[in-house]
Symmetry: D3
Subunit: 239 residues, 6 copies
């Protein structure tokens, strides 16, 4: 068995993070996982949602969208359909939880960061690229506050990144692209911190149920993949 | 440390499944995980969604809702708000995937089963109760087709059930109730088949990231819990 | 002519009201008009709608829903369709008006009761069952406030109940079930107080216009039916 | 006691029906109940809703709207709010039922009439004016089909009109205007045919429950009022 | 070449403005451009949108709607469809900009005028009739404030009116009716003040691009047309 | 007076068109008008809208969106708000009309091109950039069909581009950026063909009405600007 892309089983696609790609956003990057390109724009705001007012603590949220023709066949625009799909909302919630897992809300004060992750081109793994790039954009937005004197240091405890792994033609492989993702027997997304903690695991049997053994194989691949992503994030951010 | 309910760490709540509770639905049950009560009504239909027409195969979907006052403080009615929350959609998608994992769509022919899981009273674990009860309602709907001669046998390969486990005050516990769920450090939902295969894992760090060791502890608890749920399902269904 | 159910012309279905069926709601009951089952959950809230603030008086509203498979053929979920049907809104408004007709808003103070009536199983007469059970749930919610010391006595002047009567195969019959309702020539809903006052009358000719004489026959049946419902309500509430 | 308008208890407002007020609609009239002005435009269409296709019979529907400033204080536009209120839907359903009660759908063939009733100026009784004027517009639309040879005769069995009566300061009065409507103790709408049959009764106690005796008084007033409306309709239509 | 209506190339349709046609609106008129009839109702309110509070200045907005059967074939009701079309929103925005161009917001104080323009019958040029009549309604609403002493004088600097001109069968014509509008090669709407200033130009090539020369021809026609409309406005308002 | 950017009155910003920037879209480009960046993705589809079926002719539509943080302060996501703003719809309609003005629908056959213009970064003039880039993307999509043999030649008669000009501090200037656009007295968008025909003019007085003379000045600037844009388009497309 060979992967369609010719990659080794535990080989990620080329990962590239281009920071400062937007003149308005306080933090921004364009992240590429191979042909998957996600624009991550973080907005730093001196206010919090109504239910947090007076708590003295901050908040971080993620939003997600796909351009209509980011995919192989064009999708209708969610704004035109008048609602976001269940999939979109599920991914937005995941991004928000992932980013919040490494933020110290006490240190933030009553401020919020909103991270928009918009997929310009999709080739599998858009949500994992969004989390990985979203972290960089969020970090840059905090740095902006540090530079303007709003806070003393970046209130982030750790890095966070994500990768999808799966069982493809019977074997565990790392960082599924679209060809693999659409035929994989099992697909699991792992969100992990730079220090190796697990933030979120979402594993789904697409056809047959999977075994504990298979699952542990995927977890191994994910640990390796996230470690590589962490290195790219740290280099871009100068950490 | 002790659980608020006084249960042992690996002790599920009392689980009760009352079948045939609705005169209209082809399959139905009321499932109780302690004080969590979910009404599961399965509708057997001689048609499939438009995109499946002519394929000769069937389909199963799940839908989920909570009565406004099923919870401690009343929620607004989703029908009145004009849309389903991201959480509702996420759970509906999970229920559908879980139920479909054990169905043989070829044997179904062009038919569909739609399983409505409505929470009458919530005390944590509504989605896992919905999957476990939804399976029973779906099975009964298939039996209805067998009895009316529409199909020779129930086109189901295995049973499927679900349980949530978590890290509560540092220890792994099984079948979280609301008191535990709202303060647990980590919460994971496991969907497993009767023969022990894993269909879905969703683990989330609510506060601190969790370790692989902790996660494996939860997986052990889930295997034990799902085995117990399987026994209840089989007894109700006479399998 | 005979009724499909074998009932006498002025005979109601068996009516059963099970109180305290929900651990969260301040007032609750499950009401059964034969095979029509409606879960009524009343929420007592220490606040009023914005337009009432500062008036010192209270408010009561009703909401209504049907589970998708409460009926013979499954209906789409209103939350999924993104709006409530005209029929749902019409019934909600009727329930609210009926319940408010017996409440003393001055004595309530600035509080509100919201009564959710959700149909678990439908066999005709869901709105009349909802009003009759909704009154019980509302009364129990007020009793809760009395027990907690929020008010000295239950601020209710009278009981209120409802019944549908119709012309079926030329004869007036009481408490239509689905078989009768779907073929009746005329269908009228009556909401009446325990002391015999009329709160609401809604009579509709489904086929031929009806005469004043026919209408008065239905009114007689309604008075008898509501008197019986009042007796059941009083027994359950210990009035 | 005297009515604000100085009318006698059983005196209707001046009723005027101006036919043929729109160059596009197959049937049209502007109806005035005093200062309540409703434009009724009937559209004759050679098609039926999907669920009626192939039945060989026709259908009639009513729609209702109020211009934002038809009322004393401006209401938001329903199109801008993105949904029709419960009140609007309730009235639309009532208009449709009323108009359908006098139509012979077999004779219509597979055609439909849609009657739009839009309130240009409101002063109480808009729904009863809409039904009364809507009947005239519908009749004219059928006459259009007769004139164009689509059908041999107008497939209408009877006329239909409507009036609201109420208990105002303790006395029964006919055709409530806004001043009366907003303070009446009881308000009832009656839809009746030209030959005296009752099509719909909707009576509501706005404050105290009402008695059977009071209700019968309103019914007497309604019969007199609808007889007068019938005479105006017949004169306009040349029947 | 001749115009379908027999009008000269630079001849407007008969324009009629009937003021004070609604008992509730502070300013109102019915404007007729031939068979195009638009009801313009202006509401004077002692409040401004949230974003203007505390500025001490006022605001004017326009809204637009068409009755479902104002046109040759019936359109669905926007309120029923749950949203306003792009065309409706575009016209509303245009009306608002046009009316605001002649108002002195400082002199208004924190008040707003909302002008509803509802098309009762359409025969081309509804937006230009709406602007022309909307100005009259707005002016009357300001006069109402002057009469009630809320302001010393009408805070309007100039009149504003609008006309559509087009290239029809190769020639420039003024005030297109529906027959011309639906086949014109080019259609342009001009909004102009009484003193000859240009407020808005919207020119669109419906088939072939048009030349600067053609455009200047339309501009000449528009100047003549708006001058005639200005005269009618001034006469109605007694300016 | 000097322009904030230091440009000459008739000087456009640097315009750059990068073609083939998306692996899925049949035609694509990223267009930059200075700091305004719009991604234009054209989808070539072998089908037409329902109302065109059987006509043998084709269709072209445009859609438009802005990323939430493409602007100086973040806007809410239209998909989350559940509807597209009036501005968005107005621009979409404009883009569609502009692109269609140069296409030969007969030669297209029953096919459609949908051009999505999404603003990645906004600095004024997004709609004119969208039209100019959208034309390039559309042309490339037609070339794709030519290359695959679906049609013999590109069914486009001319190029089309757009520029905004305005009166800024009393002087006419070309290609307004955000600083100018937000304070300009008058703002006009011109859509013109490569051969100099006018497709659309939209001129709006933001403060004072403008004169014919001022308008003609803007038209001169627009002709010069569109000629420069045409040259860039032709170079990119090799025309």
């Amino acid at each position: 068995m060979a992967r369609p892309s010719g990659r080794a089983f535990d080989e990620m696609r080329d990962v590239e993070i281009l920071p400062h790609v937007n003149k308005h956003a306080e933090g921004s990057c364009l992240i590429k996982f191979g042909d998957t390109h996600v624009l991550c724009l973080a907005t730093a705001e001196e206010r919090v949602p109504g239910w947090m007012k007076g708590t003295g603590t901050g908040w971080v949220t993620g939003e997600y969208g796909m351009l209509p023709r980011s995919t192989g066949s064009r999708m209708d625009r969610e704004a035109a359909k008048g609602k976001q799909s269940g999939r979109t909302q599920e991914i937005q919630r995941l991004i928000g939880r992932a980013l919040r897992s490494v933020v110290d809300f006490e240190k933030m004060g009553e401020r919020q960061v909103r991270v928009d992750c918009d997929v310009l081109q999709a080739d599998g793994g858009t949500r994992t690229a969004a989390i990985t790039g979203g972290f960089v954009a969020m970090h840059l937005a905090f740095q902006h506050w540090v530079e303007t004197g709003a806070m003393a240091s970046v209130p982030i405890n750790d890095t966070v990144s994500a990768v999808s792994c799966g069982i493809y033609e019977g074997a565990g492989v790392s960082d599924l692209d679209y060809d693999e993702d659409s035929t994989a027997e099992t697909d699991a997304n792992f969100v992990m911190t730079g220090s190796g903690g697990i933030v979120e695991i979402q594993g789904t049997a697409e056809k047959e149920p999977f075994s504990e053994e298979e699952f542990l194989k995927l977890l191994e691949l994910a640990k390796k993949g996230c470690a590589e992503l962490t290195a790219v994030q740290k280099e871009v951010l100068g950490l």
